[in-house]
Symmetry: C2
């Protein structure tokens, strides 16, 4: 099965276990709405690519690791879209969870997805107990405080923002989780994989800032101009469009340079190159310096 097939199969199995007939139906529906159909599944693709590059000797654990990261990502989108944050009506071209269901169900669906991610890890981790503590701890710290995506959102409530901590946490944390946990799932040390995740996370953030500034709501499938409306720090405001496009290319070069020697190094380089291409659509090229 290819990477996408492995990810979707694992996500579907997790959701089936969480929403069997004894579950409250609306909350089950809200969770499914948040997870399917997915977006580009960028983070789990990256985790699987690294696990494969490292030998993928425990495929079930690689699958679970990739799925757990995507589930956390989707949970964070559900909560971010709620009225007390972005108050967004659209996500991936369809109504957000709180619009399609209700605010209480969106809050609960996010919570239930967060814990589902850990449940997925636990089930597969029973097969490779020595790797589980590292995976659970890394997922928790990438999600929570002091440096995970919750911390990133938390900086938006501060008057004085530590900008580098903000970006590292808000977008970077789950990309670093993807590369390091992908390696850990295959029994490798996480350290050498931090840089790759950090670079791709930063590139993703810059590309997102460019999309938010340049594309239309129809092209993006969600409201645009949100950074300007919420006065959020972003690369376009800081560097201008041309500067942000240059920055994006520079970071992606750094990502390729950071890939450690490993059995599947060449295949991974190809995946990162494809990812880079996806992050820099032709619409951006005209702005390049």
């Amino acid at each position: 099965m290819d990477i996408s097939g492995r990810i979707e199969t694992t996500l579907k199995a997790a959701m089936t276990a969480a929403t069997i007939h004894s579950a409250p139906p609306k909350l089950a529906g809200a969770m499914k709405h948040a997870l399917f159909p997915g977006g580009a599944r960028v983070r789990p693709q990256l985790a699987m690519a690294v696990a494969l590059a490292c030998g993928d000797d425990a495929p079930e654990l690689s699958n679970a690791t990739a799925a757990s990261i995507e589930i956390i990502h989707c949970a964070s989108l559900v909560h971010d879209d709620m009225p007390c944050f972005d108050d967004a009506d659209l996500r991936r071209g369809k109504p957000t969870v709180h619009v399609a269901f209700s605010q209480p169900l969106a809050l609960l669906a996010g919570d239930a997805l967060i814990v589902l991610a850990f449940d997925v890890l636990a089930r597969a981790g029973a097969l490779a107990p020595a790797r589980l503590a590292g995976l659970v701890g890394t997922l928790a710290r990438s999600t929570g405080m002091p440096g995970g995506i919750c911390a990133g959102q938390g900086w938006e409530s501060e008057c004085e923002v530590d900008l580098s901590a903000y970006h590292r946490a808000k977008t970077g944390a789950l990309f670093v989780a993807a590369t390091t946990m992908g390696a850990m799932a295959a029994g490798r040390e996480p350290g050498p994989w931090i840089e790759l995740g950090a670079c791709i996370g930063e590139a993703f953030q810059v590309a997102d800032d460019l999309r938010d500034a340049l594309l239309t709501e129809a092209e993006l499938g969600k409201p645009v101009g949100q950074d300007a409306i919420h006065a959020r720090p972003n690369a376009v405001a800081q560097l201008g469009v041309a500067g942000a496009v240059s920055k994006l290319h520079e970071i992606l070069g750094g990502a390729l340079a950071s890939i450690p020697a490993c059995p599947g190094e060449l295949a991974l380089r190809e995946i990162v190159r494809l990812q880079a291409k996806r992050l820099t659509p032709v619409e951006f090229a005209q702005y390049a310096a």
Copy 2:
């Protein structure tokens, strides 16, 4: 160190790790507000009592297990108090997190606390890897779907409610987590400990229904009459006050009868008896049938 000391020390260490100086300060404050000072710490006390009764051969893991359950409980209170659920201003005699901080910070604090619970388990679980998968999986399923406390809350959004699933999930799940995870932390099978947790959870729910119906806001430290206002199913509406008091005594008898043979059986019986006394204050005695 006594049980309470072990619980508070573990909670404080977890919070310190989550809120070091690089963390966004307001979110750190919101998390501390939710966790300290605690209430009766009933669930972690129960988990520790069972771990001790089972030999407590990995004390760090017992501490982490008890703390993780309390952290999840506090996270659920933060989200339950938010305007889209109970819209409560008071909790344990002080402003709720969204009142003291803000709705975005309450939402994030709840999320960050949920993952902190898993982080606490992961850190201690590295010392006893064979026990970790069971602990993480049980905590996740007691919190999420299809039968955890999120599922319990989820039933409140349904027109047709499966009452027994509702009660089992909303209050029972974390009590069953306390007894079964307490046993697992000490290397024992969880199965024989389900009944004790279920009985204490049910007793706690009935006692809570009685308090909600009989006490004043000042006595309770939070708004009263909430069950009637939200038309939630509860034992007082179903059985009357005298019937609910009888039911409470009956359930607590069942709890004592369910305690399996184990090294610390006698001490555990004493703890359950004390707990029972706490759940049935003198105010209720006058209503007994």
